[in-house]
């Protein structure tokens, strides 16, 4: 009889618990995804067949109809443009602010930090009407730039806070060495600091992209014709059959997944150093 040492027993138990938790967490994410993917390509007859749980014949018809008959490809493009614009604007504004918070001591610094966060205290519903009027006056209504600017206001606080904590993790000496060896402050930022914080920027970019990609309310209020994907889908698929809804879910999920997949490789340690 082989005996199991008591220590070994708890070790096995511990492993079991960890694996069980891992399975639960992954199913929590993967099962809905699988459901969406399967149903999006299901033949409607099979989908509605009460005797089947999982459809076995698949078709591109649902996605095809949604993308090209209902012209959702345009909304998808709009969403991508808005998300990228949002990243561009919020980085252009957020990086300098994050840098200043990380590197300098100035009067009102803590107050400034608090103000940044308090921006998120106002529910969008309250601001929707004034924002629409403002946009109409500025000629930004129903433009992608307008939506991007509104999304920037949502993403900016996080971009500032995330990037400032990344900048803190870059030793000042790297920048000082840059300036000693012939760079201006500006060049130092672009040639020394920026390459070092790429992983952190990737994280901030993912966050901003996903936020903009998922945002429905502002996009619905501010646009009519040039709608982003979620806002457009909301209207066009509301009364459509279920497979269409799943197809819509599929085209919502896919680009975001691709983007995260690409940005992900910058998240892990680069240059052998791990920056937060």
């Amino acid at each position: 009889m082989s005996r199991v040492a008591p220590g070994e027993k708890t070790l096995i138990l511990k492993k079991l618990v960890i694996y069980a938790l891992a399975v639960i967490v992954s199913s929590w994410i993967l099962v809905p995804l699988a459901l969406i993917f399967i149903s999006a390509f299901a033949v409607p007859e099979e989908y509605y067949d009460l005797n089947r749980i999982i459809p076995t014949s698949f078709t591109l018809e649902n996605v095809n109809a949604l993308l090209f008959v209902l012209k959702e490809w345009k909304a998808t493009l709009n969403s991508i443009i808005v998300a990228l614009l949002t990243i561009a604007i919020s980085f252009a504004l957020g990086l300098p602010a994050g840098y200043a918070l990380a590197r300098y001591i100035f009067p009102g610094k803590d107050m400034f930090k608090l103000l940044i966060i308090s921006l998120r205290m106002f529910p969008l519903m309250i601001m929707a009407i004034p924002l629409t009027i403002l946009y109409l006056n500025l000629g930004l209504s129903d433009t992608l730039l307008g939506v991007a600017i509104a999304h920037t206001s949502l993403a900016l606080p996080f971009v500032v806070l995330i990037t400032s904590s990344i900048f803190v993790s870059v030793p000042v000496e790297y920048e000082e060495a840059g300036m000693i060896f012939g760079l201006t402050r500006f060049e130092t930022f672009f040639r020394i600091t920026l390459p070092l914080i790429l992983p952190g920027l990737a994280a901030a970019a993912i966050f901003t992209f996903v936020m903009s990609w998922n945002e429905v309310f502002v996009a619905s209020v501010l646009t009519l014709v040039n709608r982003t994907l979620p806002a457009d889908i909301l209207v066009s698929v509301l009364a459509a059959p279920d497979p269409y809804k799943f197809a819509a879910g599929f085209i919502m999920v896919l680009p975001a997944m691709i983007f995260v997949f690409i940005a992900r490789k910058y998240l892990v340690a680069m240059w052998g150093i791990t920056l937060r």
């Binding site: 790297y174 060495a177 000693i180 012939g182 201006t184 390459p195």
Partner: protein, 371 residues
């Protein structure tokens, strides 16, 4: 390597009334100092004494509130670092992690738009000098601390700087490597003859490497001199106490006209020194004597006037080659450094001899040295 570095920009660095404040704290307090062409000057002092801030003012990383920094005739006080044509080795090395060793060393040359062929030649020259030639295509995270330090030095010398600045470059290395790099840096500096300003809190580093040492405390320059001068003729109490290990013995004594009376014992003053003390008769002075100038009778040098004192051995610290004994005379404690071969017992009565030619006497109020 046949490549020969021509040093075009040797330069004298002059600090005039240099003052830097951080809020209410005066980090650097009216420093006046000239660092000669090709000299190896070490700023030495305890942490927070302003030595690094002084260096950063010379580098242009800090702008002083008052005073000026001159390189030769040129006032560089307000010049940004990149226009000063200097190099710096940082305490943390600051070797950029996203560049290979080659790119790190080549970086200053690329910025200054050297031709590609020249860059390669120079990087190879510097890498060869610091024996890191085989590491050129590695990334910094693949290097040890000592190797990274060499990369930082190579990057600093590759550009022919007017002035080479070093901010505690050896303090992150282990003890053995530090001793090795100490002599290597010194040799390197003598070879390329660049004006070098080096900051450290380690007196051994300062003594072994410097042409001249500038001792700083609380933002002020205490004394500037060769290591020998700093050690043998400290101009002020702080320097006497800061340089030397174990620390110099200090006691307060009153000058009686012939001797210094410390209460528990008296120390005679040699005739040639009495004249200097004349005006202090009856006053309290601070007297210093280094432990290495306190002998025991069987190992005392001959022909040197000495004062015999008697006390009790309070503590013994064997260091191998030497032994430090703590001798209590009344309420006073005198340390003596004696050869490690001599056996001394705790609590035993012992005779010690104070070398009268190596006494240091300081004014009590100003702490300035009388001799």
């Amino acid at each position: 390597m046949g490549y020969n570095l021509k040093v075009k920009f040797m330069v004298e660095v002059k600090l005039v009334d240099l003052t830097k404040r951080f809020g209410k704290v005066v980090a650097v307090d009216h420093i006046n100092l000239t660092i000669h062409d090709g000299e190896f000057l070490v700023f030495l002092g305890p942490s927070g004494c302003g030595k690094t801030t002084t260096l950063r003012c010379i580098a242009g990383l800090e702008i002083p509130e008052e005073g000026h920094v001159y390189f030769g005739e040129e006032d560089v006080t307000f010049l940004p670092p990149r226009e000063r044509n200097i190099s710096m080795v940082f305490q943390s090395y600051a070797v950029w992690p996203h560049m290979t060793v080659f790119d790190n060393i080549a970086f200053p040359l690329k910025i200054k738009k050297y031709p590609e062929k020249d860059i390669k030649k120079r990087v190879e020259w510097a890498a060869n000098l610091l024996r890191i030639s085989e590491l050129l295509d590695r990334y910094p995270h693949q290097l040890s601390g000592g190797q990274r330090q060499r990369v930082a030095v190579a990057r600093a010398i590759v550009v022919e700087p007017r002035v080479l600045l070093m901010d505690e470059p050896l303090s992150n290395l282990d003890a053995l490597l530090r001793v090795l790099m100490r002599s290597e840096l010194k040799k390197l500096q003598k070879r390329i003859k660049v004006t070098t300003i080096y900051v450290t809190h380690d007196q051994v580093e300062a003594m072994t490497m410097a042409d001249r040492v500038a001792v700083m405390n609380e933002g002020r320059l205490m004394q500037v001199g060769t290591p020998e001068e700093i050690y043998n003729k400290p101009g002020i109490l702080f320097v006497a106490g800061f340089i030397g290990s174990p620390r110099m013995n200090f006691f307060e004594a009153t000058f009686t006209g012939e001797a210094l009376d410390a209460g528990d014992f008296k120390v005679n003053i040699l005739h040639e020194y009495r004249a200097m003390l004349e005006k202090y008769e009856g006053k309290t002075l601070t007297v210093g004597i280094r432990p290495e100038h306190v002998y025991i009778p069987e190992r005392s040098p001959t022909g040197v006037p000495q004062q015999e004192l008697e006390g009790v051995v309070d503590f013994v610290e064997p260091l191998g080659s030497d032994t430090i004994i703590h001798v209590k005379i009344g309420n006073k404690l005198l340390l003596a450094k004696i050869p490690g071969t001599v056996k001394v017992d705790y609590g035993s009565r012992i005779k010690i001899l104070v070398d009268l030619t190596h006494l240091h006497v300081f004014e009590k109020e100003t702490t300035k040295a009388i001799f």
